[in-house]
Point group: C2
Chain length 397, copies 2
Amino acid sequence: MIQIAILGLGTVGTGVAKVVAENARQIERKLGEPLQVKTILVRHFKDGPYRQLMTDDFRKIEEDDDIQVVVETIGGVDAAYDYTRRALEAGKHVVTANKQLVAERGCELLVLARRKNVNYLFEASVGGGIPILHPLTQCMAANRIDEVYGILNGTSNYILTRMVRTGAFFTDALREAQAKGYAEADPTADVDGIDAGRKICILADLAFGHQVDPANVPMEGIRKLSLRDVKIAQRAGYRIKLLGRALRLPGGKRTAYVAPHLIAEDAPIASVEDVFNAVMVRGNATGEVMFYGKGAGELPTASACVADVMECLQVSPRREEIGWSPETEGFVDPQELQTRYYFRIEGSLTDAAMAFGQVEVLSEDGETAFLTDPISGEDAARQAQSLNVLACMRVLP
Amino acid sequence: MIQIAILGLGTVGTGVAKVVAENARQIERKLGEPLQVKTILVRHFKDGPYRQLMTDDFRKIEEDDDIQVVVETIGGVDAAYDYTRRALEAGKHVVTANKQLVAERGCELLVLARRKNVNYLFEASVGGGIPILHPLTQCMAANRIDEVYGILNGTSNYILTRMVRTGAFFTDALREAQAKGYAEADPTADVDGIDAGRKICILADLAFGHQVDPANVPMEGIRKLSLRDVKIAQRAGYRIKLLGRALRLPGGKRTAYVAPHLIAEDAPIASVEDVFNAVMVRGNATGEVMFYGKGAGELPTASACVADVMECLQVSPRREEIGWSPETEGFVDPQELQTRYYFRIEGSLTDAAMAFGQVEVLSEDGETAFLTDPISGEDAARQAQSLNVLACMRVLP
C-alpha cells in the first residue's frame, strides 16, 4: 500500500482523489500495489466523501513517514511554496499543477529535491492532461530544441473561437465563457496572457536549460483584439490565436513572449479550437511535433498529477536531472526577433507603402490592413511611427 | 564515456550515428558524460566515415563489456530477433525501431529483458520521432485507455493527400510517392496496411495490456480506394484517411484493425496531411489527446532511438514494467463493432433504403453514395447482400 497526501481540495485536488479511486485497478496493476490518499490538507473542514481524511495542520503530513508523495494543488506561491519546501525537506516527493510556483521558483525547488534525493514533478502545470513536459525532456532528449510555441490557455482560445465562428465581440464571448464556467469572474490571468506566460516560461526553462524569468517575458493578451482583425485575417486565409512562444537564438541566447499571432489556416495549430490546447516543439532532429488535447479541467489535470505520482514511485530513488540553470543571462527582448507583422491602419495603401516599402494588402475597406516583410519589432514600431495604427500583430512564420 | 553499438547501417542506423555526433553536447549535458558509438554491425564493409567502427561479427558486440546499449536497426524478424535475444542475454539494454519484431515477439523479449534486469525500448517503432509510446504508458498511466487510433503510415497518407489535392488516381499518386522516395519499389507494407497494422498492434498491446497478434488483425490498405469516393467524401465534408484503430470493449475484451475511414473534416486528425502521422489516445480521465509529427525519416526516427538509449542509462537499472500479458484471449473480430458505414452502390436511393432503411445521401450522380446508421460489420455485409456495392468504408465516430 502506497500512501499519498493532497494539499488543497479545489478542482484539481478533488480530481486527484477521484482519479485515484476510479482508476484504482489500472494504477495498482502498474505500481504492483494499491495507491491510497491518506490525508488531505484543507483550510476549512467540509462534509463530503473525504471528511475522514482532512486535516488543517500541515505537520500531520510533514511528520507522517507513511506518506511518500505530496500532491500540491493549492495554487499561488506563498503557502504552496512553503509546504512544497517543507515536504521536500522531509524527504517526500512533491507533484504539482501549480504553474505560477514552478515558473517563479521551480528552479530552486528542483535543486532542493535533488539534494534530498526525491522528485519534484509538474507535468500538469502545462497543458493539463496533455503529456508535454515529459515528452519534451525525455522523448526528445536527443534533440537540440530550437523552438516551442503553443495555444496554452483554453479560455482565451474559446473566446477567439467564438469570435471567429459567431462573429461575437470580445466582451460578449468573454461573458459566454464565464457563463459556461470556462472563465473566472476575474478573467485577468487568462485573457491578459499571464497564464500562458507562466506556461511558456516553464517550457522555455526545460527546452533551453536556463531560467526564463516571467518578469522578463512580455505578455500580451486578447483583450484589445478587435473583431475586425479576426474577420480580415480569416478572409485572407489566417486564424488569430494567442500563442506563447520561446526560441533558441544564436550565441546561446533565447527569448520568450506571449501575444496574439496570425497563423496560416493550413498550419496544424490553426485548427485547434474551443478550450483545446496544443504545443508545438521543434527539435533539430525530430522536426516539428505537436501535442494536442484538453489543457485544463478536473480529471485531465488530475490524471497528469497522478501519473507523476506513479513516476515518482516507479523511478526510484529519483529521475535524472530535469532541472535548469538559475542563470537568466542571455535572455533577449523578443522585439529583436524578425517576423512578418500585420498592421491595420487608418490610412491608405500609399501610407503603408511609404512606411514599409512593399507590403501584402489584406484589406482596403476604409482602413488598410497589410502584412510587412520580416522585420524586428523595433523596426516595426519605428517605421509605423508616422501611421495611425489601429492594430498590430506578429505573423507566425 | 558511455559506449553503444548499432546493428545495421541503413537509414535509421546511419541516423543514430549522426544524431549521436551532431547533438553530442545536448546529450552529454543530460547524461553527465559523453555518449559514443563504439561498434557497428554490418553485413558488408563499406568505406565511409564509420569504416573504423564496423564489424561483421556480432560476437564482437555481444562479448564487449564496454557496450551498455545495443541499437537494433536491422529490421525484420530473423537476424534482428536472434541478435536482440543475445544482446539482452548478455545483459545489455536493447533499443529498436523495428515494429515487426516488437509486434510479433515484443512480449517475449520484454520478459527476457526483465529477467536480465535491462530495458528493451522501442519508442521509434511507432510514429518515428513523435513521442507516443512513452506518453501513453507513463504520462497517461493514471488513465484507463479506452481507444487509440491514428494515421500511422506516412506513405499512404501522402498518397491520399495527393488524391484529394490534385485529383490524382491512386496509381499516379503512388508513382509520385515512389519518385520522391516516400514509397519503396515494393509498396506492399505501406499501401496494404501492414505497416500500420504492426503499429496499431504495438499501441494496443501497451494500451490494453494484452498481446494483440498481428495475424488476428484485419488489415485493409488503400490500394482499392477509388478517386470517386475521395471526391464524394470531400464534397460531403469528410476526408478519407487510412487509420489503425484499437478499442477496449466491455467485459475485458478488445479489438484492432486497419482500414480506410471517412473522418469529419473538422476533426483534428482530418487535417493531418502529406507524410505526417498522428495518433489519438482516449483516456477515461484525460479525454482525447493527439500526438502529431513526422512519422518516419532518418533523423526523427534516429532521435527517438537515441532518446531511448538515454532513458536506458538514466533510469537505472531499468524502467518499471512496460510489458503486457501474452494472453491473446478476449480479442474480438472488429466486425462486431457498431459504426456508421459509407456505401457507394450501382443503384438508386430506393435500393439503398430497401436494404438499410433510413440513410444519409451523400451523392446521387449515376451511382448512389450514402451513410448508414451505426451497425455492425456483419449487419452491414448482410444488409448489403442484395446491392451492387462499389465501395464500403467505416465512418470514424
